[in-house]
Amino acid sequence: MNILYFALIRENIGHFSETIDLPNDINNVNGLINYLEQKGDNYKAAFAQSDLIRVAINQEYVNLDHPISNNDEIAFFPPMTGG
């Protein structure tokens, strides 16, 4: 699956996007976050405050318990501050 990161989450992780093969036992956003956190302290820092994580799957906002599949594009970002 294709993963995108924006703003502070992008800076903490150190790159804008990556492609992973989603393990079969991961079926929702929270599961993916737990999986990514095993990849290093940069990921742990990015996802440290779950109330400051917003998620979009295929360009639609979803909650952390939303199901995911390997064909999805998922984007992680902090609460928005435009305007």
């Binding site: 703003a7 992008r10 970002f77 928005m80 435009g82």
Partner: protein
């Protein structure tokens, strides 16, 4: 509805004219412009960089615009949001609503700004003499949005 997410500046009179030319039925035009301030709390702001999610930004502004159109009798609507590096005094965002009467134009413009603050995928980073920092979302922005429910 005219929606644009762009790096370039916008010209407010041109945008108003695009909605009002050849129309004699419009009794009200409301415009809101958001600008970069040179001060945030105690800190002097040297510049601001707006990051956005290109694949989503226009789509989300369009959704918010459609919600406003479904709620008030709006004759015309323009939403422009800029991204990239901006300096104090620079224009960030423009909302123009036109209607037969003022109440719909005022309300729709405010509704659009309140929703845009929390639902349009843009993030502000401020540069000061002490370094750079991401602007934190304000909890009262959610309260402002919720008043329209």
């Amino acid at each position: 509805m005219h929606i644009s997410v762009q790096a370039d500046d916008f010209n407010i009179p041109d945008e108003i004219n695009a909605l009002s030319k050849d129309r004699t039925d419009i009794g009200a035009i409301a415009t809101f412009t958001g600008l970069v301030r040179d001060i945030h709390g105690e800190k002097a702001i040297k510049s601001m960089t707006l990051e956005h999610f290109p694949a989503m930004a226009e789509q989300e502004l369009e959704k918010i615009g459609n919600d406003a159109i479904n709620r008030w009798p709006i004759e015309g609507l323009t939403i422009i949001h800029r991204y990239g590096k901006l300096l104090p005094g620079d224009q960030i965002v423009l909302v123009i609503t036109t209607s037969h009467h003022r109440e719909a134009a005022f309300n729709a413009a405010q509704f659009i700004m309140d929703w845009l603050k929390t639902d349009a995928p843009f993030w502000k980073k401020e540069e000061t003499d002490e370094g750079t920092h991401w602007v934190a979302a304000k909890s009262d922005d959610n309260d402002k949005k919720d008043r329209w429910k």
